[in-house]
Amino acid sequence: MEGSIIDILIFAPLAPILGVMLFWFIQLLFIESEKYLLSKIRPKHEPLCRFTNFLGILFQTISHALGYTVTKSGISDFYISVEYGKVAPKKEKKGAFEWISNAFLFIGPFFIPAFLLLLCLFLLINFDFASTSQTLELKYTFGGQITAFGIGLYSFTKNFFELLFTLDLLHPGHLGFLLLLIFLGMGIRPSYIGEKKIEKVDMLYELKNVWNLIKNKPSYFIILFLIAYIVFYLSIFFNQNWYVTLFTIFGWLSIISIISIIITNLILYLVKTTDDIPRFWKVVPFVILPVSYILLRLLFLYYPVDFTTTISLIIMILLTVIVTYILLYTKTNKFKFKLGIKLLKKKIKDDTDERG
């Protein structure tokens, strides 16, 4: 076995934990960007914001209820609305059970939607999970563990992107998966975006919650770490890849969440951009999306080429971007830079002089 004893016994188990934390932090950053976009479009798209609020609250409430179920506290009250969700336990349990319930409440909303998507990948779509398993020799050092974790994530991300770029939107299963990806992307945020700016609408609030969870009961947190270390030592003992695999799954969940939030953000950005376009023209980019895709697929049905689904997807996205740009250029004052304005002013002046 390579590596020093200290590296193997103390630092190596930390590697996947740090990896998961890093990806979770990136996820939080993307969630922040989504919240920013939502708060920007809220005045004009109140129902959309309420819908995303509902999704967020739904996952939060489900996580909370799951926490009470796992700890056998029972559920006496379950209430969800667009603005507020509440779950009350039948029995108030203290100590470790309370801590676990709270952990579910604070961390669950970040991972449960992604877990549902992972299940969809597994059950509905023929996703290539087999090739995501690492092929390199496993080393029980910090470097070895982080490499194994990284390879696991890399191969999953590669396969996931391959799947996304080969999605056949005329296949009900693939279309359903994409819609689910977008909907769940809107819900991967436990905060509520309301009429007034409140403290809850920021990333620090969520980090503070998690920090309080650790600070209030450090002993439970230490126990969790000890369990992680024990699992790692058992992995070494049996020379099995359990430890990294477990954390790699959490990494996958983060990756799914991040990609899902990115796609949702793109759509929200399109919504925000088209808001500037006047009247019915603002609908045109949203019509271009399905119409161009269907026309392209029909075209490729009669003139078959390789990678039809990928080409159709890319052209669809490009067409939408170009059409939106043209509309913004022709129907609004956007992209009319200094030179253009100068020319316009000169033209107006010339016209006035001519009349004068």
């Binding site: 819908f51 509902f54 603005e83 005329l170």
Partner: protein
Amino acid sequence: MREDELLNNEKVEKVLSPHPLSFMGYQSLCIFLIILGTVIGWLVNFSDMKELFENYLVSITVWGLVLLIVGVIASLITIRWRIFFLYLFIFLGGFGIILWQGWQDIVGVVLPFYTVSVSIIGFLIVELFRRSHKYIITNQRISFKGGVLTKRERTLRYDKISDINAKQGILGQIFSFGTIIPISQSGFGLGSDSAQAAGGVMLGEKKVKLLGIFGGGKEVQTPRARSYYELHGVHPYKEIKKLVEEMVQGSVITPYQQEQVAFQKEQVDIQKQMRDLLKLQAEGKDEDGEDKDEK
């Protein structure tokens, strides 16, 4: 509301109609048909399983079974068998058209086209029904109007409203619409949910038989009215609810006001008595009406 329909001193506060998404119950039946049409079209024409659907009877059976099973489930959930019969009618219609026109060879095109067409017609009918509704809130009453062919109308004065029931589903919360049911003193606006249970037992074989049936029922009164007798899916919900509540409150006399009215009535009675006395005095009579001079 037309000018001539207004009462004396009546002023229209709001004219409302249901939100486009407030009939989602009916619309979801049409959405399901679109999904079914799309999926069956994909299964028969493009999927890996399309060989299975080469025989037109298989396609029709799968399509019909899914349609009827969903119809039964929806009917059981909503306790409305008309959904099942509607889907049965669609199934028979589709099957009949295919046989009548001899379109067995192009079932893969006909079935999706027929299903989606029926759903579009359904959407149009629902929209027509929605647009037939009109609710007029005036300062004296609420007028409910609705119905595509048969026009129904209900007028409710605020002082006759004994209770207000309001509900808002998830879609309503998102798009800020909701339903307000004003319950009149006569109980108009109330429905009942009933649950019944029955059990039977039969004992004995061949000759001796004993049959017993036990049953029971339970009924719960619940606010329920037809969409043309309630403020169905009105937008903006909170504002309308507040307006109706204020109107009802405005027509109800509070205990303090009741006290004031009783006091004023007492005052009027006293003044009337005084007036009568003064009148008698002026005529030169005592309280019994006899002339003072005669005495």
